[in-house]
Symmetry: C4
Subunit: 454 residues, 4 copies
């Protein structure tokens, strides 16, 4: 459909300006066929449901559809479809009175509204790159106006019988009857003027041409401004992310330099800022929280339930309890060597490892400042995907006994201890299962630790 529109709108000025009336006769058929297509489209519109802008409902009632269409675009659609030229020929048999025909033919430009609509839909479709779609649209606008101006300018010279026209300069380019050559010259002039290059080899020679060119140039001033405005919008948008990244790094860098932080700390700060910016894209939590309750619940179940079911603590726990727990989890990305839980912290949170590795460290504060951070850090053990940590302190209501630190970039699920206890309080049976799971495992671990105390 859009191709037909493009053809008819693009070809119409060309036909008018460059083709001799003798050529037209053959084209009438093509014109009439395209017009028939458009007529069919008008009929179809009466049977297509539309979305009411007030209530956002789809309207199927054919009477309301007809009413709406008749009161809005119907008249213009019909006016742009009538084959004036063919009718005129049919009734009078003559072909001389072009001016009237060309005026009525302008109704065909009404069809551009459809192209406009197509572009709007393309812009909203995320399958297509936004930058590309808008650039393509702007190119079409620029090319189409250059084309129209070229045709009109040639028409102006054609109709000026006798007087000096810009075609006189063009005469020297040889064969005047070659349509292709003529069109090339006209478009060359049109592009030269539109881009404001203005070589000056083709220029206005009489008053009518001067007026036309003056108008075209002023129109181009607006068009160029419009193109630049659009491009600026796109560039600003595409550069925004890099700029934000630079800013956040610059703040960190300024901070580090002003305070003369030691080299190792400096690296940590910069690495953290850099990672935070990258992980932002990976951080889905904010998006999940925007979803409505019912969808959120389903998404959480899909994402986290498999990971939670693997955890030893929730072995044999009923699916109902897990489902309600799952919707309270928060997914987080942690950079490498980040301390998730600090020793002596309160048991506020429990973590499940989805991916990555976490190590248990026991930090011993030294008296002197022997090491940079004044602490001897001993790595005890490392946990990986499917493990849980922090639950010992949470279930026993004691401060954390160890520091837990990520070894690599890890995705963790955080669960507030209060939520866990609340879920256990509601379902007594699952509560017993959880405690049993915990005791069975912890006894094994505690035995091994007491044999090898920290």
């Amino acid at each position: 459909m859009v191709i037909l529109v493009a053809y008819s709108v693009w070809f119409y000025p060309f036909e008018l300006a460059f083709l001799a009336p003798s050529h037209h006769r053959g084209l009438y058929l093509v014109d009439v066929v395209t017009d028939l297509f458009f007529a069919a489209d008008i009929l179809l519109t009466f049977f297509v449901a539309y979305i009411d802008s007030k209530t956002n409902m789809i309207v199927y009632d054919s009477r309301r559809i007809a009413n709406r269409y008749l009161s809005t675009w119907f008249v213009m659609d019909v006016a742009s479809t009538i084959p004036y030229q063919a009718l005129y020929l049919l009734f009078t048999g003559r072909q001389q009175v072009w001016s009237c025909y060309s005026l009525l033919g302008l109704f065909r430009f009404w069809r551009l509204v459809r192209v406009e609509e197509l572009f709007k839909r393309l812009e909203k479709n995320i399958k297509f790159n936004y930058f590309a779609v808008r650039c393509f649209r702007l190119s079409c606008v620029a090319l189409f106006s250059a084309h129209c101006a070229a045709c009109l300018f040639f028409l102006l010279a054609e109709e000026n019988h006798g007087g000096k026209t810009w075609i006189d300069d063009f005469a020297k380019y040889g064969d005047e009857t070659n349509i292709w050559l003529r069109y090339t010259v006209a478009v060359y002039w049109s592009a030269t003027t539109m881009t404001t290059v203005g070589y000056g080899d083709l220029r206005a020679e009489n008053t009518r041409e001067r007026i036309f060119i003056t108008g075209y140039m002023l129109f181009n001033l607006g068009l160029t401004a419009y193109l630049i405005g659009n491009m600026t919008d796109l560039v600003v948008e595409s550069a925004r992310r890099t700029m934000e990244y630079r800013k956040s790094i610059e703040v960190a860098s300024t901070f580090v330099n002003r305070n003369c932080l030691p080299r190792r700390l400096e690296e940590q700060v910069l690495a953290y800022m850099s990672l935070r910016f990258q992980a932002e894209r990976m951080n889905q939590q904010r998006f999940i929280e925007e979803l409505p309750k019912s969808i959120r619940r389903r998404v959480c179940r899909h994402l986290f339930l498999p990971a939670v079911q693997q955890v030893y603590l929730f072995k044999d726990v009923s699916i109902g309890t897990l489902t309600s727990l799952v919707s309270k989890l928060r997914a987080e990305y942690m950079p490498p060597r980040e301390e998730v839980i600090l020793r002596k912290e309160g048991p506020d949170e429990v973590y499940i490892i989805v991916s990555g590795e976490v190590e248990i460290v026991s930090s011993t504060t030294t008296g002197g400042e022997s090491r940079l951070d004044g602490e001897l850090i001993r790595s005890l053990e490392s946990l990986s995907s499917g493990d849980m940590f922090g639950e010992a302190a949470a279930l026993c209501c004691t401060p954390q006994r160890f520091t837990f630190r990520t070894k690599v970039l890890s995705q963790l699920l955080r669960l507030k201890t209060a939520m866990l206890l609340e879920a256990m309080r509601i379902n007594h049976h699952d509560s017993v299962t959880i405690i049993n799971n915990f005791l069975r495992v912890s006894i094994t671990i505690y035995i091994s630790y007491s044999a090898n105390p920290v």
Copy 2:
């Protein structure tokens, strides 16, 4: 008034440059008549109240009006109204000393201030499209400066008696006395230069012309930048919404793809994001909350009272109680298949359906993962406009027994249970009416349910 200004400002340079002194005499009358109009306007200004910028009050006191006017624009207004030309002619009878007249005539450009004011008012008037008004304004600025430059450039050639001027090139265009032809050529040159096309067929031939053109070109550099700046501003503004839409959809799409969500969930997420963006415009709650108390109360009463009066629960309740309830309602749009109330939720909120449909569903968790979401959903009954739900749990202080889910896009009024109980506590008589209404209906319903238990 603005038309008069436009006429006088537009015509003045034209008159100066193109019309021979012999033509002027006839125009004196027209000039004097327009000047009289402006003089009348000056008198009128003394009787028009103004708004004081400090206190935002309207000042009617004629003395203060006069003081303000005399100390600000009065002198310029008078200077731009005196018909220097006519006076000069009256006193001396000669017409030769044009330079003085043309200098004094420049005061007329002062009248442009009024056009500027008109445009500012148009820009603030939401009946006119912002884009259109600003484009029109920019076009006027561009056309007017092209016109002035054309007139000045012609005047420059006219006054250069003897030396070679650009008019020599122009001599070949034929009849030199044709004003229309001359004006066309001058404007053609002016537009060629302004749009930086610069064909080169008309160009500076002597030092004075070179200086003038140099100045004009540098001025145009600024003007073009101004035009582009304005256009960019407008384009950025108009593209903002589409961009926001794309961004929100893209975030959702990325999320869905990274987590490989099942097809049905993916559709739900995307549909929700798309609808949320559209409904944003329909969401009036935020606007209502910005209004001051008294207006808000009246708006709420107008919007919600009819819907609330239809609800069975508030039958025969006094208008006073309803009015106070109504101002505590929050209107919300819910997408289709959204769960408004979940089974086992606390009875925190009560909903009234303004439009759309809501179905009562009873979800039964299955043991195995037989269905996608692990739940068998049975639709029990559907509620529509004028119905209320959630009130059973609210009045009995029990958890919700059913899940309520929208079938189509629905507008709901949300009422906090606490607000309802508070309103009932204040007016004892209405409280009894509400309880009676509730019992009468619920008994009927509960009987039918007990006959057909879930």
Copy 3:
């Protein structure tokens, strides 16, 4: 100082390109004098304190000043001050080797750094209009580069002995020795190229000129983009406010239309939105709260103490108590016919009228919907500047008995009742005074009301 810089930088390329060596001799004196001025400035810099960028302290220590200067700009400043030309003349007595001199003279452009600094300071000075300063700066940049290009281009032609140059076209303009004429032509060419008009009457004729012009054109591409970028920035900034106004009104208008609000309500809503936008500028509260404690206290005392001292309730109250009260007041602008206190509201706030009028109204709810809002409103009395309202309910701890509504735009001071009671609790003596003031007045009023009950 800046004038001297402008002179020396502007004149230097002109001197180099257009003046014959014979003219130079006279100018040496002028050059040497300006150089002396700059030398004096270098000496002065050693004694001027500067602000350390790290600690934001002013440094007076002359050794640190010297260190800093020597290690930064000293070398360049000296290099740009040495009068190479005069020295050369002094030592050799010949004037032929210009190329070396012209190269060393480029150091003078270093002085432009000072002009840049001046502009930066101007941009930060709010006494000057931002738009004007930046436009002026951009004009200077454009003019200066056009000037330099013109001089260089002329120099290029001058030095090309024998070969064909663009000066050959120029020869036809007459007297070749007229400096003014030559300069005009060169600047004309320069502006034609910079603004990309490119008439084509003056153009490159040999390879050196082509290279120079190619470079100049590419430089201009960047310069034009820079000009447009700046202008866009300024335009976007200046149009922002109007756009915000339009948006807020449009939201209100859409809301009103969709809900078909009655005409009177529609006007109220639109008037409120419009006023809110204007009053925003008048709303000082937000600014006051940003100030630090000590300044805020002083500002509040200056603004509100006179108004508070007029109020009957605070007659004879000690200045200390008033001062502490005053810093807890919040100033607010209320649109006309806005209900400040509603009947039956809790006594949370007390208001003092600074300007405007407030009327006491007694609203009687009617049974039927006889009037639009279902209420009969009787205006009882009106309060004006210096009056207080809401204090009866506040001191008696009862709900408000009347509705208070503004008649015109009013400035009110709001005081939380809790703050008032707290202040009374602290100073016992003032507390007694306040109660006495209240009783003395209220008895009079209550008597009159009881004689004429509502």
Copy 4:
């Protein structure tokens, strides 16, 4: 590597257009050598680890690396490396069929992807100025397209044997075989057209040239818009800070003028606003709070521990207690003459002075309004770096007895009293040390005050 890319991409069109086949033979060697380098690079890519975009992990597995490379850029990289020309020569020995070679040579432009990547990395590197990098990038794009267009345009004329070409105009410039001269002319034309100057001395003479120029001009329209868009983005970004500064000062200035504040107060308000804007950059607290727990703790220890250890109160306190205190400190910059603690305030906070000076003042409220602020202020003593204040009230739980005011811009560390007491509660031994320290010093001070009471 990038230099090789630049050389090969830059030189390829030049070679094609300007060098006669006889020259090529010598260049084959150079070409083959660069091609070998690129071939080596392809091999290397198989052994370089990459970062997986999904999981953000580095992948070392050589099979996965190979898979990824083969499925993405491998084909293009190989295609751009094959030395078509040399192969062709090797197999056929002829050199005539250039068209095929030139087409295949276009694969070399694929190498530009690497340059693009380099620029992206440069833009993200904060060691380079963002403005400079982007300007350099845009310059490269502009220069490269001008270069390519020049080469193509010349090639077009070269291949048009017989017909009239733009080279006919160029013939008059003399030696046609001079490659340097030819290249200059072509680039001159290219730049003239790209910048839309369009002198018109070089222009299309036949249909092929017209089509080429039309395409080039439309491409340039987009390129120019892209340049301007980028420049606007950069300018807006760089002007943002000055604009914000002006706005905040303007708000303050409007406020001061509307309320006719006394001169001294006006200066204080403006000085405060100005300083606040500068200190914003120095305010590190917000940045510190964004860091994760473990890094924050280390940064705080590095920054504040030395200052805290100097304070008399924390003499001999264990490093563990100080470390935990230090992470609760908040650094603040205070402008001069700012009252940090007001007399009679509650003892909520304790301050440590890092730099600057603080004076203790005793304010006596006078009965009459003798002084501007109604207070006699006596400066008692001044504290400097390493001192602490507010601790007397905090430890004795009484209101502050003095007002503390900064004398110069000071950096203070604020510690909530509750935090201090909490830290003392946890470690009993340190608590005793702190109390002892306090008593020892305060007794000395209190004795001196009682001898000289306020």
